[in-house]
Symmetry: D2
Subunit: 488 residues, 4 copies
């Protein structure tokens, strides 16, 4: 099978969102809309994609494939196997499950046949008590087909005594802890649900006479749907072509939307939480320029995710903006290294330094985050090789010091550079002239909380920066993970 | 076979470079370097790639594949079929040959076995007398295997009485008219040659103890080679690991490098003709801002090729730069249109408007060129749909009014918007608030000719803008093409 | 995907065995033996094959593929994903499940993770109460992943309170009705079981220090295993490298081995029920020659399954044996019919008449069975076209008048020619000079029951000929199937 | 790519025919007929197949693929790329060219564009002066694309001064030595030609209002064409829908048809040289029984090619015929050997001994030929392992002691067992109770020459048995091959 080119040039040194979900009801040829919607959400999961539709005659139909939506779900041949006016879809990286080797059986949506009919479920997030739930279900005779936490939901639904599928889903989700934004379907209904803290996004759109649920608004744009509203934290919606029924079946909690969705995961053209992602990122650049100014000749983004912050930094600082690093649009990562070794070959495959622009300049590199620091180091080397006079890193997020357990793939804590180094230690490690991260307060200001972060009741989930986990990660604690405040 | 996603979002409305060439001698595992070099030149031809190497034991080895370098030439399995320390490669769009359906037999390099040994040839450019040459060769008993003009060269070499392969190549090329930058190889030598006007680029690099020939310098960077110099117009080089022999076998002519290489074809991180492509494009933006200023709130590039000019325009005009159009990095063009039709779906698959940024603003869109105008119209519609107050196009090249016959795929003259419309007519056709192209003089200033274009002896080939063809396109004239000055 | 050529030339007009099973324990590289064993059993199921192995380090490993064993399970790459000294495998046609479109999820072995560890199950036969079992299991919260009856067994095991997996399998199978020859495995044990009537075969072999279970002895031969004995009807064996534990957990019944295994399903080089299949078939030919002699010039087998009976018929009758029909060894069934239509093209793709041999002769065609009669008719036409003087059919089985519900794919009763025609009516329908089937008594004599069939206690299951079903097909009766003796 | 299963179980120890040719004119949808015809000739070449058709609108169209006809040329999708009422096709093993790794460029038909239009050529046979021709052509500037001797013909045609393509083909073939049966085509004509000795077969058939040329009559049968006559040795035919023009452009020679076509290459249902192949083979068995009788219990063919001779042997000797060796119809040759080694595993994959039949018997094994003897040895071992009392080999051809240079793939002379062993030495080498080959005279009698072989003017080419080469193999002699009578 051909190697999948990475979409972000430094995917291996980034946190990765694990999933995107999309659902549609009340439109002819639902599968075509699913394909478009999932294509627009591809940045949320590139390893695999799946769809389920329902058609009166053909019943439930599904297709699950490894690889990109555009490579698997664009032929008439495939879409014709997915008839119906109602369907849900999922793009997947892989968070739980076996990392790096997503099996096709782990690809969502998951499907279950119940006595009152079938249901399919697609999930963005992560259940923090999935291991416990799985153990209990197996003891009672459930047979798991995948390694995914999401499968617990469908087994809980199968065992529920609820009379309707929405009732069963409600009952099942009440047993689940952690982060979940779910789209699901029965033969006639589209369901949506968000966990009480609303960690992951989920929005509702109007598409002609039908309805759409999507992780992000950029997928509404591509199908030509109108943005209606966000699904609220803790809300469950049951949608038919005739309308949307809303309920709040869970115990109320303060909402804690993931702040990293603003920093990196979501697409810049999406509106999250009422705010333009692009504008937030640009504003982070403005804040960074205020918090950590430096004399220099050029503000240069690390492509592509650093671009909006670099534009903001340049605007605020007055230092010219320029493309000092050119991304190869035909990226690959699997080239054979020639026997005469090439310095930083992995990075060269993805980008090249614009030598004529960089030479002799004091360069500010704006990047979205530093995870392991491996890529930052290589970029610095290439910039210096090209003759830069000074290299200054400005990072559009605070130091990433803690893993995420709510649906993001993060390295183990010890592999996060910021887990064991101060900012100055990181600067020395990267060997650059200066390195500055935006402060947590600065980040909160950039997302519109003008007073900064309230440590007693933070408006966002920022556990990856702060170690302040809004839901205790039960399964991980059982495996030995130690919370920040855990006494030695 | 899976559909190849386009690399540029609007490929179908751009002129297309047809080829890139790369050669290497004197390094272990030449094929790995070829793969890297061709990968860096992929923007010059995305339909197919081919390589030939020579190894004392295995003889000449070749591989030719449809599709991207990264998808076909990165496995050990393939590279192991290409042993040797000497090789040449080619990436191809398709200019002559059957358009749109490149057959594998049209994929270069071409190979011929002569009595003194084999030779392989790869060609960037176009022979303007290829049809005549082909006709004569067939009459004498040559059998053509492809529809490519390049095959003439190898047949002319086969029939030459020259005692060595370089002699035969020299003799063959003297019969060829038009544009050619060639890399070729024998069992022991790497050859390079550029037509007397030097229409297409070709550069020489040093790689450890070996040598590299490449269409652009960006491919030197990826393999870690040092830029030595450009091959001169009309120069032929014969390279062994021991050194480079140079000769000038053709009648001397004034050089006429393709100015569109600066505008669009080449990568911004390449150095062409002694100038940074990025800097030239940025400078085009500066000139445009001077020539055609306008009151507005936002300078927005049409991604990705409009970006450097937009940066220059913003810098010169003081109007803020912003990403008003977001490109989908997982582009596809083959999605099935849902039965409920989506306005401008083709464009939506490739980009989305950053609605929050655009709304209510007077927007300057900076694009590299207008060919048919179809895409410009759709982008304008999307920008207006998103609520822009005004739309102003600024184009980083003069109106493209004439086809290219020197190795660029252009639509027929009548399909070029500028062939039958004035600037104002185009503005009305696109229905925008203003539309301005850079002047030909402004473009010459941006590439460093401060006095502008000298109509009697222009420094560049600018036939696509001016209709001034430095070599008469003999085959096309025979087919009925009428030159600018041809009396009625 | 490439079309799979059929293995028997007239597959579409034959009854089809649905499955073959094979298991091995106590040998290094179990997967290689599984591949060989399943290859030897390929005639029992050509649509798909699957394997599960267990390895201390890697745990349970599985691979399931559509198509032939030789095309999917012979590369080191695939076998390396199946480590371990213990494994089971399955080849599948498809009896229950959706006909004609075996989904990969229907490919056995099936696997379940229980609280005491995992188990895999592969099944040859058919459960006649599977629909009822499935309905009950779904009501209690089991989620089915396939449309296969075999999946009931693994869910029954998951819900069993048994402390060990063999205990759970025993409990599960006691709830199952119909025909089953099962191989199964835990992390450390190989299990085998045959239903109380022993409808389908299952044999035990010794392979070095290890053990083998197989549907037929021909698969023992290919792996070099020694035949030990048949698993008895109603017997369950639990095998470790140290030995074989046997038990008889079911209520005792008279055995009723499938007589059609002798006639057609099994390979001629297998030993079934203590008898050589080849010899039995040859003996059928002898019986036929005695029961239904005819004056003729040539005895000609319908390839390949009619061959042993034709040899026996020739020997007994003294009429010369000859290859009047030549089978194309590169059979295909998907050729496009040319616009000028070819008579009997489907058959021509698979065989050709040996015209020189046939011309002017009175020909006896010996075939194994007549199902729909469509192929017989075409063969007769080809034989007559080639100039035969007379055509006499001799059929090596009694008229097939009833469908099988014990693991054989049969057309619906009304499509069976013998369900609504007498022998003479069939002769007229096929328009041949004579047509004779062996009698049921003759068939019993050929399998060694010298006194013929005892209608009160037949030694074999011969329901497809007699309509005498040893186990009532509960699910089918619920769907409206009427037994022979059912009052109108 | 998936491994191609061999068609004959012991292909690696057989001589191999290299090619089959087929052409058709004057029928709608010629490509469908080509596919059927080549499918029927698949036994003559299994590595690759190619077709060329011509259509007024589409011009010449071609498709060439590695692998079986049934896998590559049966879809509407492929056939639709081959429109027209005229076409030729070729199946290929590989005789000249690089053995074992047929490149796609070596797959025929070959095509050349001449000044008066294109022509395609497909060739069965071998040119014994191809190396000399190629050298001369290259010196004059021809560029070869393949390693095939057939390409010389098309280059000779390109250089001919003939005014029409048939004239050019005639002129070209007059320069060729060796064996050739050719089908060729222009835009409007189907051409056929056989070398003056007529070594390889070629027949003419009538198909509706059109015409067919084919290597064997079995391909006439499959398309429903009527056999008209053989093309004569030295004859050239030019066919239009209106009729067949015949000429004899070469110097007359005594015909020498390949006798091995009767023994092994051709299909038993073909008529060659006026004789039924099946009947000839049966008669060889009769002669063998007369020449080399032996007391035994069973005559057993080595499947499948030994079958007709075994039937004849049984009939003549009165010893019963039986299937002692069962061929696996799903043959494969690439199974991974389990770590516990299996004796004769390669052979087991292809066949199994019918142990119940063999045990205790004196067995006569009838095979078509002995080449290296490796397979014969293994079969003998399996027969003895199964308990045979005695093993007697009877071979349906004389000892194969000389390589063929006329289009058959033979091992080098020293690898032929009979090149350096007497019959008795071979018997001892194979370690069997007796081994007898049919005599050359006996073989001639079986093909109808009742007086046996006339050493002064043999009716057939029997060089592989006799070393009597009717045309001196010029290229091979240049390479050092020594003829039988060459003085030391």
């Amino acid at each position: 099978m051909r190697s999948m080119p990475p979409a972000h040039p430094f995917d291996d040194d980034k946190l990765k969102e694990e999933c995107g979900v999309f659902g549609v009801i009340g439109v002819a040829d639902a599968a075509s809309f699913l394909a478009l919607g999932l294509h627009a959400l591809q940045h949320r999961g590139q390893e695999a994609a799946g769809m389920v539709t329902h058609d009166a005659e053909a019943g439930f139909c599904s297709a699950r494939r490894m690889g990109y939506v555009r490579d698997n779900f664009t032929s008439r041949e495939v879409l014709d196997t997915l008839p119906g006016t109602l369907g849900i879809g999922h793009v997947r990286y892989s968070t739980s499950g076996h990392k790096g080797q997503t099996a096709i059986r782990d690809v969502q949506p998951f499907f279950g046949e119940f006595s009152m009919g079938g249901a399919a479920v697609a999930h963005n997030g992560n259940l923090t008590n999935a291991a416990t739930l799985r153990r209990e279900l197996i003891e009672r005779g459930s047979i798991f087909q995948s390694s995914s936490d999401t499968e617990c939901i469908i087994h809980l639904m199968a065992r529920s005594m609820g009379r309707s599928i929405p009732d069963r889903m409600e009952e099942a989700l009440r047993k689940c802890e952690g982060a979940f934004s779910i789209v699901a379907m029965t033969r006639t209904k589209l369901l949506g649900c968000r966990d009480p803290m609303g960690v992951r996004p989920l929005v509702l759109g109007r598409l002609g006479d039908g309805w759409v649920l999507s992780s992000e608004t950029c997928a509404l744009d591509i199908v030509g749907a109108e943005f209606v509203r966000e699904i609220e934290p803790g809300e469950m919606v049951v949608i038919t072509p005739d309308g949307v029924e809303s309920s709040f079946p869970f115990k109320t909690r303060a909402s804690r939307f993931c702040i990293f969705e603003h920093v990196y995961f979501s697409r810049p053209d999406s509106i999250l939480d009422g705010r333009s992602v692009y504008e937030t990122r640009r504003q982070i650049g403005v804040e960074l320029a205020r918090e950590a100014p430096v004399e220099a000749d050029l503000v240069c983004p690390v492509p592509d995710s650093g671009t909006p912050a670099a534009i903001g930094f340049s605007h605020e600082s007055g230092i010219p903006y320029g493309m000092g690093i050119i991304r190869n649009q035909y990226m690959g990562r699997t080239f054979i290294e020639p026997s005469e070794q090439i310095r930083n070959m992995g990075v060269r495959l993805k980008l090249n330094v614009n030598r004529a622009l960089i030479r002799g300049k004091r360069v500010i590199l704006v990047d979205d985050s530093v995870v392991r620091g491996t890529t930052s180091r290589k970029i610095k080397e290439m910039i210096l090789d090209a003759g830069a006079a000074e290299v200054h890193f400005r990072i559009a997020s605070p130091p990433t010091a803690w893993p995420c357990f709510y649906g993001v793939d993060t390295p183990e804590r010890e592999k996060l550079l910021a887990s064991h180094m101060s900012e100055e230690e990181m600067r020395r490690h990267l060997d650059v002239d200066s390195l500055k991260f935006i402060s947590l307060d600065g980040l909160y200001r950039a997302v519109g909380v003008s007073e900064g972060r309230d440590p007693k009741a933070p408006r966002y989930c920022d556990a990856c920066f702060s170690g302040d986990y809004p839901v205790a990660p039960a399964d991980m604690i059982e495996k030995g993970f130690r919370l920040k405040d855990a006494a030695a």
